[in-house]
Protein backbone atom coordinates (compact mmCIF):
# COMPACT_ATOMS: atom_id res chain seq x y z
CA UNK A 1 0.00 0.00 0.00
CA UNK A 2 1.48 3.34 -0.93
CA UNK A 3 0.98 6.72 0.63
CA UNK A 4 -1.25 7.70 -2.28
CA UNK A 5 -3.97 5.33 -1.16
CA UNK A 6 -3.88 6.79 2.32
CA UNK A 7 -3.97 10.37 1.02
CA UNK A 8 -6.96 9.74 -1.19
CA UNK A 9 -8.67 7.92 1.63
CA UNK A 10 -8.25 11.00 3.81
CA UNK A 11 -9.58 13.26 1.04
CA UNK A 12 -12.70 11.13 0.60
CA UNK A 13 -12.96 10.74 4.37
CA UNK A 14 -12.97 14.52 4.80
CA UNK A 15 -16.00 14.76 2.53
CA UNK A 16 -17.80 11.98 4.44
CA UNK A 17 -16.98 13.78 7.69
CA UNK A 18 -18.47 17.02 6.35
CA UNK A 19 -21.68 15.24 5.36
CA UNK A 20 -21.78 13.64 8.82
CA UNK A 21 -21.34 17.03 10.48
CA UNK A 22 -24.20 18.43 8.41
CA UNK A 23 -26.34 15.50 9.63
CA UNK A 24 -25.38 16.29 13.21
CA UNK A 25 -26.20 19.99 12.89
CA UNK A 26 -29.76 19.07 12.00
CA UNK A 27 -30.08 16.15 14.33
CA UNK A 28 -29.05 17.83 17.57
CA UNK A 29 -32.07 20.04 18.22
CA UNK A 30 -34.65 17.97 16.33
CA UNK A 31 -33.69 14.30 16.71
CA UNK A 32 -34.42 14.04 13.00
CA UNK A 33 -32.17 12.37 10.46
CA UNK A 34 -32.63 14.22 7.26
CA UNK A 35 -32.63 11.60 4.53
CA UNK A 36 -32.61 14.42 1.98
CA UNK A 37 -29.19 15.50 3.20
CA UNK A 38 -27.39 13.77 0.34
CA UNK A 39 -29.61 15.53 -2.19
CA UNK A 40 -28.88 18.87 -0.52
CA UNK A 41 -25.16 18.14 -0.98
CA UNK A 42 -25.80 17.30 -4.62
CA UNK A 43 -27.96 20.40 -5.08
CA UNK A 44 -25.14 22.53 -3.67
CA UNK A 45 -22.71 21.06 -6.18
CA UNK A 46 -25.11 21.41 -9.13
CA UNK A 47 -26.18 24.97 -8.40
CA UNK A 48 -22.59 26.03 -7.82
CA UNK A 49 -21.40 24.28 -10.99
CA UNK A 50 -24.09 25.99 -13.03
CA UNK A 51 -23.35 29.41 -11.58
CA UNK A 52 -19.59 29.17 -12.12
CA UNK A 53 -18.87 26.82 -15.01
CA UNK A 54 -22.00 27.59 -17.04
CA UNK A 55 -22.97 31.15 -16.02
CA UNK A 56 -19.44 32.38 -15.32
CA UNK A 57 -20.19 33.89 -11.94
CA UNK A 58 -17.22 34.72 -9.68
CA UNK A 59 -16.31 31.93 -7.26
CA UNK A 60 -17.16 33.74 -4.03
CA UNK A 61 -20.48 35.16 -5.25
CA UNK A 62 -21.59 31.75 -6.52
CA UNK A 63 -20.50 30.18 -3.22
CA UNK A 64 -22.62 32.58 -1.16
CA UNK A 65 -25.62 32.34 -3.51
CA UNK A 66 -25.52 28.55 -3.38
CA UNK A 67 -25.33 28.38 0.41
CA UNK A 68 -28.23 30.76 0.86
CA UNK A 69 -30.38 29.02 -1.77
CA UNK A 70 -29.85 25.53 -0.38
CA UNK A 71 -30.19 26.84 3.20
CA UNK A 72 -33.63 28.17 2.26
CA UNK A 73 -34.55 24.83 0.67
CA UNK A 74 -33.60 23.19 3.97
CA UNK A 75 -35.82 25.65 5.81
CA UNK A 76 -38.72 24.92 3.46
CA UNK A 77 -38.18 21.20 4.04
CA UNK A 78 -38.31 21.77 7.80
CA UNK A 79 -41.55 23.77 7.50
CA UNK A 80 -43.31 21.33 5.17
CA UNK A 81 -41.86 17.90 5.90
CA UNK A 82 -40.60 17.97 9.49
CA UNK A 83 -42.29 20.59 11.70
CA UNK A 84 -45.84 19.29 11.10
CA UNK A 85 -44.73 15.76 12.10
CA UNK A 86 -42.96 16.94 15.24
CA UNK A 87 -45.89 19.20 16.16
CA UNK A 88 -48.10 16.14 16.39
CA UNK A 89 -45.64 14.05 18.35
CA UNK A 90 -42.09 14.76 19.43
CA UNK A 91 -41.28 11.07 19.27
CA UNK A 92 -43.09 10.40 15.98
CA UNK A 93 -41.00 8.83 13.25
CA UNK A 94 -43.05 10.01 10.27
CA UNK A 95 -40.07 12.17 9.24
CA UNK A 96 -38.36 9.03 7.97
CA UNK A 97 -40.84 8.97 5.11
CA UNK A 98 -41.26 12.72 4.65
CA UNK A 99 -37.53 13.46 4.46
CA UNK A 100 -37.07 10.50 2.14
CA UNK A 101 -39.89 11.90 0.01
CA UNK A 102 -38.15 15.28 -0.03
CA UNK A 103 -35.00 13.53 -1.17
CA UNK A 104 -36.81 11.84 -4.07
CA UNK A 105 -38.54 15.06 -5.09
CA UNK A 106 -35.27 17.01 -5.20
CA UNK A 107 -33.52 14.18 -7.03
CA UNK A 108 -36.28 13.99 -9.61
CA UNK A 109 -36.38 17.72 -10.28
CA UNK A 110 -32.62 17.96 -10.49
CA UNK A 111 -32.51 15.02 -12.89
CA UNK A 112 -35.08 16.70 -15.15
CA UNK A 113 -33.46 20.07 -14.99
CA UNK A 114 -29.77 19.24 -15.32
CA UNK A 115 -29.72 15.80 -16.87
CA UNK A 116 -27.32 13.03 -15.95
CA UNK A 117 -24.07 14.49 -17.31
CA UNK A 118 -21.48 15.46 -14.71
CA UNK A 119 -20.27 19.06 -14.78
CA UNK A 120 -16.58 19.80 -14.37
CA UNK A 121 -15.96 22.32 -11.60
CA UNK A 122 -12.62 24.06 -11.37
CA UNK A 123 -11.02 24.68 -7.98
CA UNK A 124 -10.85 28.31 -6.80
CA UNK A 125 -7.93 30.54 -7.80
CA UNK A 126 -4.43 29.49 -6.71
CA UNK A 127 -5.47 25.87 -6.26
CA UNK A 128 -5.52 23.15 -8.86
CA UNK A 129 -6.34 19.49 -9.29
CA UNK A 130 -2.91 18.86 -10.90
CA UNK A 131 -1.02 16.42 -8.77
CA UNK A 132 1.97 17.70 -6.89
CA UNK A 133 4.83 15.32 -6.49
CA UNK A 134 5.35 15.47 -2.76
CA UNK A 135 6.57 12.29 -1.09
CA UNK A 136 5.90 10.42 -4.33
CA UNK A 137 2.18 11.02 -3.81
CA UNK A 138 -0.17 12.21 -6.52
CA UNK A 139 -2.24 14.48 -4.31
CA UNK A 140 -3.20 17.91 -5.66
CA UNK A 141 -3.01 21.29 -3.97
CA UNK A 142 -6.81 21.44 -3.94
CA UNK A 143 -7.03 18.13 -2.12
CA UNK A 144 -4.55 19.28 0.52
CA UNK A 145 -6.61 22.45 0.96
CA UNK A 146 -9.77 20.34 1.24
CA UNK A 147 -8.27 18.31 4.10
CA UNK A 148 -7.25 21.49 5.93
CA UNK A 149 -10.54 23.29 5.30
CA UNK A 150 -12.42 20.29 6.70
CA UNK A 151 -10.41 20.42 9.91
CA UNK A 152 -11.06 24.14 10.26
CA UNK A 153 -14.78 23.73 9.56
CA UNK A 154 -15.17 21.03 12.20
CA UNK A 155 -13.38 23.26 14.72
CA UNK A 156 -15.61 26.22 13.82
CA UNK A 157 -18.78 24.14 14.20
CA UNK A 158 -17.58 22.86 17.58
CA UNK A 159 -16.82 26.46 18.59
CA UNK A 160 -20.38 27.47 17.70
CA UNK A 161 -21.68 24.84 20.13
CA UNK A 162 -19.75 26.63 22.89
CA UNK A 163 -21.86 29.79 22.45
CA UNK A 164 -25.06 30.23 24.45
CA UNK A 165 -27.18 29.41 21.38
CA UNK A 166 -25.09 26.29 20.85
CA UNK A 167 -25.47 25.26 24.47
CA UNK A 168 -29.21 25.76 24.08
CA UNK A 169 -29.19 23.38 21.10
CA UNK A 170 -27.41 20.80 23.25
CA UNK A 171 -29.96 21.41 25.99
CA UNK A 172 -32.83 20.76 23.56
CA UNK A 173 -31.05 17.62 22.38
CA UNK A 174 -30.86 16.33 25.94
CA UNK A 175 -34.30 17.29 27.27
CA UNK A 176 -36.65 19.28 25.08
CA UNK A 177 -39.25 19.91 27.74
CA UNK A 178 -36.66 21.03 30.29
CA UNK A 179 -35.34 23.43 27.65
CA UNK A 180 -38.86 24.82 27.19
CA UNK A 181 -39.04 25.53 30.92
CA UNK A 182 -35.84 27.61 30.65
CA UNK A 183 -37.34 29.85 27.99
CA UNK A 184 -35.62 28.09 25.09
CA UNK A 185 -37.71 27.81 21.92
CA UNK A 186 -36.81 24.46 20.32
CA UNK A 187 -38.82 25.31 17.22
CA UNK A 188 -36.71 28.34 16.42
CA UNK A 189 -33.48 26.43 17.04
CA UNK A 190 -34.77 23.64 14.80
CA UNK A 191 -35.46 26.06 11.95
CA UNK A 192 -32.02 27.62 12.28
CA UNK A 193 -30.41 24.22 12.37
CA UNK A 194 -32.19 23.14 9.19
CA UNK A 195 -31.07 26.31 7.45
CA UNK A 196 -27.47 25.98 8.61
CA UNK A 197 -27.35 22.19 8.19
CA UNK A 198 -28.60 22.53 4.60
CA UNK A 199 -26.15 25.34 3.86
CA UNK A 200 -23.37 23.20 5.33
CA UNK A 201 -24.46 20.32 3.11
CA UNK A 202 -24.36 22.63 0.09
CA UNK A 203 -20.86 23.73 1.05
CA UNK A 204 -19.83 20.09 1.22
CA UNK A 205 -21.18 19.62 -2.30
CA UNK A 206 -19.23 22.63 -3.53
CA UNK A 207 -16.04 21.39 -1.90
CA UNK A 208 -16.58 17.91 -3.32
CA UNK A 209 -17.30 18.98 -6.89
CA UNK A 210 -13.72 19.60 -8.11
CA UNK A 211 -12.80 16.11 -6.86
CA UNK A 212 -15.91 14.12 -7.73
CA UNK A 213 -17.53 16.35 -10.42
CA UNK A 214 -21.00 17.79 -9.91
CA UNK A 215 -23.56 15.19 -10.88
CA UNK A 216 -26.92 13.89 -9.80
CA UNK A 217 -25.34 10.68 -8.51
CA UNK A 218 -23.41 12.62 -5.88
CA UNK A 219 -26.38 12.56 -3.49
CA UNK A 220 -27.01 8.89 -2.72
CA UNK A 221 -23.29 8.06 -2.50
CA UNK A 222 -22.41 10.80 -0.02
CA UNK A 223 -25.65 10.26 1.91
CA UNK A 224 -24.78 6.65 2.71
CA UNK A 225 -21.14 7.17 3.58
CA UNK A 226 -21.81 10.39 5.44
CA UNK A 227 -24.52 8.62 7.42
CA UNK A 228 -22.08 5.80 8.17
CA UNK A 229 -19.50 8.33 9.39
CA UNK A 230 -22.09 9.97 11.64
CA UNK A 231 -23.12 6.62 13.12
CA UNK A 232 -19.59 5.27 13.59
CA UNK A 233 -18.45 8.58 15.08
CA UNK A 234 -21.46 8.62 17.42
CA UNK A 235 -24.44 10.65 16.34
CA UNK A 236 -24.11 14.29 17.33
CA UNK A 237 -20.34 14.10 17.92
CA UNK A 238 -18.54 16.16 15.28
CA UNK A 239 -15.00 15.22 16.20
CA UNK A 240 -16.12 11.60 16.19
CA UNK A 241 -17.57 12.20 12.72
CA UNK A 242 -14.23 13.52 11.52
CA UNK A 243 -12.29 10.48 12.75
CA UNK A 244 -14.97 8.11 11.49
CA UNK A 245 -14.92 9.88 8.12
CA UNK A 246 -11.20 9.21 7.85
CA UNK A 247 -11.67 5.58 8.93
CA UNK A 248 -14.31 5.03 6.26
CA UNK A 249 -12.41 6.94 3.58
CA UNK A 250 -9.19 5.05 4.21
CA UNK A 251 -10.97 1.69 4.49
CA UNK A 252 -12.58 2.37 1.16
CA UNK A 253 -9.31 3.33 -0.50
CA UNK A 254 -7.42 0.40 0.97
CA UNK A 255 -10.23 -2.00 0.12
CA UNK A 256 -10.22 -0.78 -3.47
CA UNK A 257 -6.47 -1.14 -3.81
CA UNK A 258 -6.19 -4.58 -2.20
CA UNK A 259 -9.38 -6.11 -3.56
CA UNK A 260 -11.08 -4.98 -6.70
CA UNK A 261 -12.79 -1.54 -6.64
CA UNK A 262 -16.08 -3.39 -7.04
CA UNK A 263 -15.88 -4.50 -3.41
CA UNK A 264 -15.13 -1.15 -1.83
CA UNK A 265 -18.65 -0.44 -0.63
CA UNK A 266 -19.02 -3.91 0.81
CA UNK A 267 -15.75 -3.47 2.68
CA UNK A 268 -16.88 -0.12 4.11
CA UNK A 269 -20.17 -1.41 5.35
CA UNK A 270 -18.65 -4.58 6.80
CA UNK A 271 -16.41 -2.29 8.87
CA UNK A 272 -19.38 -0.06 9.78
CA UNK A 273 -21.47 -3.06 10.83
CA UNK A 274 -18.62 -4.51 12.86
CA UNK A 275 -18.10 -1.23 14.73
CA UNK A 276 -21.78 -0.77 15.42
CA UNK A 277 -22.21 -4.39 16.57
CA UNK A 278 -19.38 -3.99 19.06
CA UNK A 279 -20.27 -0.43 20.08
CA UNK A 280 -23.84 0.44 19.06
CA UNK A 281 -23.46 4.00 20.31
CA UNK A 282 -20.49 4.57 17.96
CA UNK A 283 -16.80 4.94 18.72
CA UNK A 284 -17.06 8.23 20.60
CA UNK A 285 -20.32 8.00 22.53
CA UNK A 286 -21.08 6.74 25.99
CA UNK A 287 -23.70 3.98 26.21
CA UNK A 288 -26.13 6.22 28.10
CA UNK A 289 -25.52 9.31 26.01
CA UNK A 290 -29.01 9.22 24.56
CA UNK A 291 -31.79 9.75 26.99
CA UNK A 292 -35.28 9.39 25.62
Amino acid sequence: MDIDVLAHGIVAGSLYALVAVSFNILYRPTNVFNFAQGELVMLGAMIFASLTSLAGMPWLVAFAATLITVGCIGLIEERIAVAPILARSQTGTGWVITTLATSLIISNFVGRFWGPDPILVKPPALLSMESLDILSSRISSYEIALILVTLVLVLIVERIYRTLKGKAVMAVAEDREAALLRGIDPGSLGRWSFFLGAAFAAMTGILASPVLYASTSLGPDLLLKGFAAAAVGSIGNNRGALIAGYVIGVTEAVGASLLSPGYQEAVIFIVVLAVLLLKPEGLFGSPNARTV
Binding site: K167, A168, M170, E174, A178, L181, G183, I184
Partner: protein, 257 residues
Protein backbone atom coordinates in the same frame (compact mmCIF):
# COMPACT_ATOMS: atom_id res chain seq x y z
CA UNK B 1 -51.28 43.54 55.00
CA UNK B 2 -51.19 45.36 51.71
CA UNK B 3 -50.30 42.30 49.65
CA UNK B 4 -53.60 40.63 50.42
CA UNK B 5 -55.79 43.41 49.07
CA UNK B 6 -53.86 43.89 45.80
CA UNK B 7 -54.65 41.75 42.73
CA UNK B 8 -52.96 38.35 42.75
CA UNK B 9 -49.74 37.99 40.77
CA UNK B 10 -50.92 34.67 39.38
CA UNK B 11 -54.52 33.73 39.07
CA UNK B 12 -55.86 30.48 37.68
CA UNK B 13 -59.63 30.51 37.38
CA UNK B 14 -61.77 27.40 36.75
CA UNK B 15 -59.01 25.56 34.95
CA UNK B 16 -59.58 22.17 33.34
CA UNK B 17 -56.51 20.40 31.98
CA UNK B 18 -55.11 16.96 31.35
CA UNK B 19 -53.22 14.75 28.95
CA UNK B 20 -54.81 13.97 25.61
CA UNK B 21 -58.37 12.90 26.34
CA UNK B 22 -57.71 12.25 30.02
CA UNK B 23 -58.93 15.13 32.13
CA UNK B 24 -56.90 15.52 35.31
CA UNK B 25 -57.83 18.97 36.59
CA UNK B 26 -61.41 19.97 37.06
CA UNK B 27 -62.46 23.53 37.77
CA UNK B 28 -59.29 24.42 39.64
CA UNK B 29 -58.87 27.99 40.89
CA UNK B 30 -55.66 29.08 42.56
CA UNK B 31 -54.27 32.55 43.37
CA UNK B 32 -50.71 33.44 44.26
CA UNK B 33 -49.97 36.90 45.61
CA UNK B 34 -46.79 38.88 45.42
CA UNK B 35 -44.09 37.77 47.84
CA UNK B 36 -45.99 34.87 49.36
CA UNK B 37 -45.27 31.19 49.62
CA UNK B 38 -48.23 29.12 48.51
CA UNK B 39 -48.15 25.37 48.97
CA UNK B 40 -50.21 22.81 47.06
CA UNK B 41 -50.71 19.62 48.99
CA UNK B 42 -52.50 16.40 48.21
CA UNK B 43 -51.81 12.78 47.47
CA UNK B 44 -49.95 11.51 44.43
CA UNK B 45 -52.21 11.84 41.43
CA UNK B 46 -54.22 14.68 42.96
CA UNK B 47 -53.24 16.89 40.01
CA UNK B 48 -50.60 19.12 41.60
CA UNK B 49 -47.92 18.61 38.96
CA UNK B 50 -50.51 18.83 36.19
CA UNK B 51 -51.55 22.21 37.55
CA UNK B 52 -47.95 23.44 37.46
CA UNK B 53 -47.62 22.13 33.90
CA UNK B 54 -50.76 24.00 32.88
CA UNK B 55 -49.46 27.18 34.50
CA UNK B 56 -46.12 26.97 32.68
CA UNK B 57 -47.72 26.26 29.31
CA UNK B 58 -46.61 22.63 28.94
CA UNK B 59 -50.21 21.39 29.09
CA UNK B 60 -52.64 23.87 27.65
CA UNK B 61 -55.86 24.13 29.69
CA UNK B 62 -59.02 22.93 27.93
CA UNK B 63 -61.04 25.57 29.72
CA UNK B 64 -60.58 28.30 32.29
CA UNK B 65 -58.32 31.30 32.35
CA UNK B 66 -54.83 31.95 33.70
CA UNK B 67 -53.51 35.46 34.24
CA UNK B 68 -50.02 36.39 35.38
CA UNK B 69 -48.82 39.86 36.25
CA UNK B 70 -51.84 41.37 34.53
CA UNK B 71 -51.48 39.34 31.31
CA UNK B 72 -53.65 36.52 30.05
CA UNK B 73 -51.26 33.57 29.62
CA UNK B 74 -53.88 30.84 29.16
CA UNK B 75 -52.69 30.03 25.63
CA UNK B 76 -49.20 31.51 25.84
CA UNK B 77 -46.23 29.38 24.80
CA UNK B 78 -43.84 28.13 27.49
CA UNK B 79 -41.04 30.49 26.48
CA UNK B 80 -43.43 33.45 26.57
CA UNK B 81 -44.50 32.48 30.08
CA UNK B 82 -40.86 32.19 31.17
CA UNK B 83 -40.16 35.61 29.67
CA UNK B 84 -43.07 37.04 31.66
CA UNK B 85 -41.30 35.96 34.87
CA UNK B 86 -43.10 32.73 35.78
CA UNK B 87 -40.51 29.97 36.21
CA UNK B 88 -41.19 26.28 36.77
CA UNK B 89 -38.59 24.00 38.32
CA UNK B 90 -39.97 20.63 37.33
CA UNK B 91 -40.06 17.45 39.36
CA UNK B 92 -36.78 15.56 39.14
CA UNK B 93 -34.82 18.83 38.55
CA UNK B 94 -34.56 18.19 34.79
CA UNK B 95 -31.06 19.61 34.48
CA UNK B 96 -28.87 19.33 31.40
CA UNK B 97 -26.77 16.62 32.96
CA UNK B 98 -24.09 16.46 30.29
CA UNK B 99 -23.34 20.18 30.46
CA UNK B 100 -21.32 21.81 33.21
CA UNK B 101 -22.82 23.54 36.23
CA UNK B 102 -21.60 26.86 34.79
CA UNK B 103 -23.27 26.13 31.45
CA UNK B 104 -26.51 25.15 33.18
CA UNK B 105 -26.49 28.43 35.09
CA UNK B 106 -25.74 30.34 31.89
CA UNK B 107 -28.63 28.57 30.13
CA UNK B 108 -30.88 29.96 32.84
CA UNK B 109 -30.53 33.39 31.21
CA UNK B 110 -31.15 32.17 27.65
CA UNK B 111 -32.75 34.88 25.53
CA UNK B 112 -32.14 37.67 28.06
CA UNK B 113 -29.93 40.55 27.04
CA UNK B 114 -27.73 41.03 30.09
CA UNK B 115 -24.53 43.03 30.34
CA UNK B 116 -21.45 41.15 31.53
CA UNK B 117 -21.77 43.05 34.79
CA UNK B 118 -25.39 42.11 35.32
CA UNK B 119 -24.65 38.48 34.43
CA UNK B 120 -21.80 38.47 36.96
CA UNK B 121 -24.01 40.03 39.61
CA UNK B 122 -26.67 37.34 39.20
CA UNK B 123 -24.12 34.53 39.30
CA UNK B 124 -22.58 36.06 42.43
CA UNK B 125 -26.02 36.18 44.01
CA UNK B 126 -26.48 32.47 43.26
CA UNK B 127 -23.09 31.66 44.78
CA UNK B 128 -24.07 33.61 47.86
CA UNK B 129 -27.25 31.56 48.29
CA UNK B 130 -25.66 28.23 47.25
CA UNK B 131 -21.92 28.43 47.99
CA UNK B 132 -21.44 24.74 47.14
CA UNK B 133 -22.23 25.46 43.47
CA UNK B 134 -19.27 27.81 43.22
CA UNK B 135 -16.88 24.92 43.86
CA UNK B 136 -18.53 22.74 41.23
CA UNK B 137 -18.85 25.15 38.32
CA UNK B 138 -16.81 23.06 35.88
CA UNK B 139 -18.27 19.66 36.71
CA UNK B 140 -21.08 18.12 34.67
CA UNK B 141 -24.45 18.76 36.30
CA UNK B 142 -25.12 15.01 36.26
CA UNK B 143 -22.25 14.45 38.69
CA UNK B 144 -23.84 16.54 41.46
CA UNK B 145 -25.69 15.03 44.42
CA UNK B 146 -29.48 15.28 44.52
CA UNK B 147 -29.40 18.27 46.85
CA UNK B 148 -26.84 20.11 44.76
CA UNK B 149 -28.89 19.37 41.64
CA UNK B 150 -31.95 20.88 43.28
CA UNK B 151 -29.93 23.96 44.17
CA UNK B 152 -28.69 24.20 40.61
CA UNK B 153 -32.23 23.90 39.23
CA UNK B 154 -33.33 26.77 41.49
CA UNK B 155 -30.18 28.72 40.54
CA UNK B 156 -31.04 28.37 36.84
CA UNK B 157 -34.44 29.91 37.49
CA UNK B 158 -32.88 32.67 39.62
CA UNK B 159 -30.82 33.83 36.62
CA UNK B 160 -34.06 35.29 35.25
CA UNK B 161 -34.96 36.99 38.54
CA UNK B 162 -38.47 35.53 38.39
CA UNK B 163 -41.52 37.16 39.87
CA UNK B 164 -42.92 33.75 40.71
CA UNK B 165 -41.07 30.48 41.10
CA UNK B 166 -42.95 27.18 40.96
CA UNK B 167 -41.13 24.28 42.59
CA UNK B 168 -42.31 20.71 42.11
CA UNK B 169 -41.19 18.40 44.93
CA UNK B 170 -37.90 20.14 45.68
CA UNK B 171 -37.25 17.88 48.69
CA UNK B 172 -37.77 14.62 46.81
CA UNK B 173 -34.98 12.17 47.56
CA UNK B 174 -32.97 14.62 49.66
CA UNK B 175 -31.32 14.01 53.04
CA UNK B 176 -32.98 15.99 55.86
CA UNK B 177 -30.12 18.47 56.19
CA UNK B 178 -30.44 19.28 52.47
CA UNK B 179 -34.20 19.65 52.77
CA UNK B 180 -33.49 22.33 55.40
CA UNK B 181 -31.13 24.09 53.01
CA UNK B 182 -33.65 24.06 50.17
CA UNK B 183 -36.43 25.35 52.42
CA UNK B 184 -34.09 28.07 53.72
CA UNK B 185 -33.39 29.09 50.12
CA UNK B 186 -37.13 29.32 49.46
CA UNK B 187 -37.53 31.62 52.47
CA UNK B 188 -34.57 33.72 51.29
CA UNK B 189 -36.21 34.11 47.88
CA UNK B 190 -39.46 35.22 49.46
CA UNK B 191 -37.54 37.78 51.49
CA UNK B 192 -36.38 39.21 48.15
CA UNK B 193 -39.99 39.56 47.03
CA UNK B 194 -40.24 36.41 44.89
CA UNK B 195 -43.56 34.61 45.14
CA UNK B 196 -43.32 30.82 45.46
CA UNK B 197 -45.79 28.15 44.42
CA UNK B 198 -44.62 24.96 46.04
CA UNK B 199 -45.71 21.36 45.49
CA UNK B 200 -44.37 19.30 48.34
CA UNK B 201 -44.89 15.85 49.83
CA UNK B 202 -43.32 16.85 53.13
CA UNK B 203 -46.62 18.41 54.03
CA UNK B 204 -45.87 19.47 57.59
CA UNK B 205 -42.57 21.10 56.70
CA UNK B 206 -44.14 22.87 53.74
CA UNK B 207 -47.07 24.20 55.75
CA UNK B 208 -44.62 25.55 58.33
CA UNK B 209 -42.92 27.85 55.85
CA UNK B 210 -45.94 28.63 53.65
CA UNK B 211 -48.26 31.61 53.89
CA UNK B 212 -51.19 30.11 52.01
CA UNK B 213 -52.18 26.58 51.14
CA UNK B 214 -54.43 24.69 48.75
CA UNK B 215 -55.48 21.10 49.32
CA UNK B 216 -56.09 19.07 46.18
CA UNK B 217 -57.85 15.78 45.76
CA UNK B 218 -58.74 13.95 42.55
CA UNK B 219 -58.02 16.96 40.38
CA UNK B 220 -60.00 19.45 42.43
CA UNK B 221 -59.22 22.00 45.12
CA UNK B 222 -61.06 20.82 48.22
CA UNK B 223 -59.79 23.46 50.64
CA UNK B 224 -57.77 26.65 50.66
CA UNK B 225 -56.76 29.33 53.11
CA UNK B 226 -53.93 30.46 55.31
CA UNK B 227 -51.36 27.70 55.72
CA UNK B 228 -51.73 27.75 59.50
CA UNK B 229 -55.50 27.24 59.22
CA UNK B 230 -55.11 24.40 56.72
CA UNK B 231 -52.54 22.74 58.98
CA UNK B 232 -55.06 22.81 61.80
CA UNK B 233 -58.14 21.88 59.76
CA UNK B 234 -59.78 18.63 58.67
CA UNK B 235 -59.38 18.96 54.89
CA UNK B 236 -55.77 17.87 55.00
CA UNK B 237 -56.68 14.73 56.86
CA UNK B 238 -59.45 13.96 54.40
CA UNK B 239 -57.21 14.57 51.38
CA UNK B 240 -54.56 12.15 52.49
CA UNK B 241 -56.91 9.43 53.65
CA UNK B 242 -59.56 9.66 50.96
CA UNK B 243 -63.19 9.10 51.84
CA UNK B 244 -62.53 5.45 52.55
CA UNK B 245 -58.96 5.82 53.68
CA UNK B 246 -57.08 4.25 56.51
CA UNK B 247 -58.28 5.41 59.93
CA UNK B 248 -54.96 6.82 61.04
CA UNK B 249 -52.86 9.53 59.45
CA UNK B 250 -49.56 8.42 58.02
CA UNK B 251 -46.86 10.17 56.07
CA UNK B 252 -47.74 9.99 52.37
CA UNK B 253 -45.65 7.71 50.19
CA UNK B 254 -43.04 9.41 48.11
CA UNK B 255 -43.18 8.89 44.40
CA UNK B 256 -40.12 7.73 42.55
CA UNK B 257 -38.46 10.38 40.40
Amino acid sequence: MKAIVSAPLLSAANVDAGYGHVRVLEDVSVDVRQGRIVVLVGRNGAGKSTLLRALSGLNRPTSGRITFDGRDITTARPNGIVDAGLLHVAEGRRLFRRQSVADNIELGRYGLRLTEQEHGRRVAHIHELFPILQEKMNLPAGSLSGGQQQMLAIAQAMMREPKLLMLDEPSLGLAPVLVDQVLAAILALRAQGVAILLVEQMVERALEIADDAYVMQNGRVIASGLAADIAAGDALHAAFMGEHGAPHHSEPRQSQP
